[in-house]
Symmetry: C2
């Protein structure tokens, strides 16, 4: 189905029954090695690990790299959807993400240092036949509607439950 029709079908479905707008995603995982974690998202299996400098065997990208994979891919896909929505022709998208982390936060060597990224740089290269202003308009629409950019730049409420087996 072309994305324009998919967007319009979703708009109609949600207008008729707003509860249909709510999607629930889930992931399950187990620590299976020193730092190896095996996870599942629906039918997809993913292995996350740390490089040897962080105690692992480098069997997969590490958790913060997966967060950047989420951001880069979400930007690319949101460009695709919003190009369709705005009627902007888009031939391709290249994305790169770089993130700075100060490991004193994770290790607890300095409690004034945050454990997460202190700064993230996102570079997007859209290609296509339209004038530059149209891709700038697209970029602004994407940044207002990209789920993972929202996750990075705004606080998200997380409820934690620790189930300790006794």
């Amino acid at each position: 189905m072309p994305l324009e029709s998919l967007i319009e079908d979703n708009r109609r479905a949600v207008a008729a029954e707003p509860a249909k707008a709510r999607a629930v995603f889930s992931v399950q995982g187990s620590l299976v090695g020193l730092t190896e974690v095996d996870l599942r998202a629906r039918g997809h299996a993913v292995t996350v690990d740390e490089p040897p400098t962080l105690g692992g065997e480098d069997l997969g990208a590490n958790p913060v790299e997966h967060a950047m994979i989420a951001l880069a891919s979400c930007q690319a896909i949101t460009y695709r959807f919003w190009a369709a929505k705005l009627g902007i022709e888009l031939d391709g998208i290249e994305v790169s993400v770089e993130g700075d982390l100060d490991v004193r936060g994770f290790f607890g060597f300095d409690e004034s240092v945050r454990p997460g990224f202190t700064s993230v740089r996102l570079e997007i290269t859209p290609t296509g036949p339209e004038p530059a202003e149209r891709y700038q308009e697209l970029a602004d629409a994407v940044d207002a509607h990209c789920p993972v950019l929202d996750l990075f730049t705004n606080p998200t409420p997380v409820q934690r439950r620790v189930a300790i087996a006794v």
Copy 2:
């Protein structure tokens, strides 16, 4: 190398030369299909896609699922490191993450709805021979030092650059 030694080596290295605490991670990707994105993080290749209901061919977990993979794996690995740091015996960790998304935000059907997760539920099951209070102490230490939980719960500065080919 046991994690206790790795943590202590890092502590000494960073105390001697604070610049060594700065780590830079990076990811590159390209949109290669309608919603398929091929990405690389160092030597690791990852395919991200959307399910058919969102226009894709389901060739991989989608971007928001990858964000949850990042959170679940980061929690598991941070439990491992902090158990070593606090001298708490840990036999295993199971993690599950569930996130609610209201698709009206992503599609721009309602500009008052945020595009990202409106709510996330994280359930952690640590197992091992220690009394329950020790795992509770561990859980609190983890939540103060987990890089991806910090990313979810606090704003992260993102600088965006759009390189439009002209």
